[in-house]
Homo-oligomer: 268 residues x 2
């Protein structure tokens, strides 16, 4: 990673730089030095207001362009325009910018503008994604093959999402649901549950993690059968982890065995 001296205004005509920075779960203990350095080097920070509040102490003296949810393409346009004008810009996302974050809209805008891959320079700085924050608090649910599925049908047709839930069920993947439920999208998680129940028992462990690593953190372990009654616990800030056919509970943790133990049993 190349981190130059930061802060100075570049002259017009200098190549700008775009950092796509994942802020992780929101506790700076989980923010890697590379992300911290990118925020230190940039002149301008572009992002959703709520995420920028997370790192307010790191943004002192920066030009901040805060936008609302749903303005992702506007944010990307603004950031690219600033970088093309020679500024060093950080576009921030919660979690990992490359997992349902700001990386794709920024690259889309760059593509539409005929970006040559060099100028402005673009660097993606990965962060701890919600699937990892949730898993670490639940135990070890992701120790076999898993998939991430966003249940938001604002950007993807429901038919495509349904096809993926079906595929995940058939493949016996551990499933992590992003954007599982909001005030307007209330039935999608229940429909996904119905599909999974065709392939997995009602006793399959399900973890619900909200506001991981924040003061308001809440971790609930339930199962596929009971999820219908507990659906009110799930909102757009919740990550839902559904175990596969081998996931079990012990000591209040949700554990998917990797297979080492079966191997050991076979040896003995």
């Amino acid at each position: 990673m190349t981190i130059g001296a930061g802060g100075e205004h570049l002259m017009a005509g200098s190549p700008g730089k775009l950092y796509l920075v994942g802020l992780g779960p929101g506790d700076n203990l989980y923010l890697a030095p590379a992300a911290r350095l990118a925020l230190a080097e940039c002149q301008v920070v572009v992002g959703f207001r709520g995420y920028m509040d997370q790192v307010a102490d790191l943004l002192a003296g920066k030009e901040c362009i805060a936008m609302e949810l749903g303005q992702e393409l506007d944010r990307a346009e603004k950031a690219v325009a600033l970088a093309q004008a020679g500024r060093t810009v950080a576009v921030v996302s919660s979690g990992d910018a490359g997992i349902y974050g700001m990386a794709a809209p920024v690259f889309r805008v760059l593509t539409d503008r005929g970006w040559d891959g060099e100028s402005p320079q673009v660097q993606v700085v990965p962060g701890i994604s919600a699937l990892q924050s949730a898993a670490s608090l639940l135990g070890a649910p992701l120790m076999q093959d898993f998939c991430a599925i966003s249940l938001s049908d604002l950007l993807t047709p429901w038919e495509a999402i349904q096809r993926r839930v079906n595929a995940a069920a058939q493949g016996d993947f551990v499933v992590v649901f992003y954007n599982p439920r909001s005030q307007r999208r209330t039935w999608q998680l229940l429909e996904a549950r119905r599909i999974l129940l065709e392939h997995r028992p009602a006793s399959t462990p399900v973890g619900l993690v909200r506001d991981a690593y924040r003061p308001s953190q809440r971790v609930v372990i339930t199962n596929l059968g009971q999820l219908e009654e507990e659906i009110f616990l799930v909102d757009m800030f919740t990550t839902v982890v559904v175990g596969n056919s081998t996931t079990y509970l012990h000591g209040g943790r949700m554990i998917t065995p990797r297979g080492y133990e079966e191997k050991a049993a076979a040896r003995s």
Copy 2:
């Protein structure tokens, strides 16, 4: 996260503590402070020799128990025994300890020993996984639903892996392959490629990332069709990312559009 003052030897009978720490890609710029603090607090570090070398500067003065690959259950047994004897122990994995790392064997040993969920205290500290390191260097390939599949059939029967590759193909998931190929396991990735080619065109972008964020880093973008000729570039230190039906290349990057742009196009 509770991080106490560290280093002192606890008296026999004191409750021990187990940290399951993900070291990320191997460059300390991507190691979060929480992981650094866990390593500072522990008295004993248990892990694969190669991963411990990554953080040698953070392990000065620690008792280090280095083991070889394949000894995962032995490492877990040793770590749990030490924690049960009152020591503060860090078990380290590369990437994220909860994604194909040491978390599951440790929880398995705890389960077998009738762990009550409290003593020893267990804390999983997430790290940047190979799927994120690879994605950040390739561009933005993981911006739609994706899955992680390990192609190692040492711990999982090939039939189960094949079923998952088929499901991933049918669901049009972006696919990240861990453990794609070794000197002994040479045909699994080619077989996975054959299955994916039944559902995706030969032009589907494929990214190969080896030793992300290390001096020996190598990033190659190819496609499903050409992967057969370039299979020699893939070894057990390589992460393979296969795009879905919408993934495209621009400016030397591999980009899966999130859907924002289609939404904008539909508005205009």
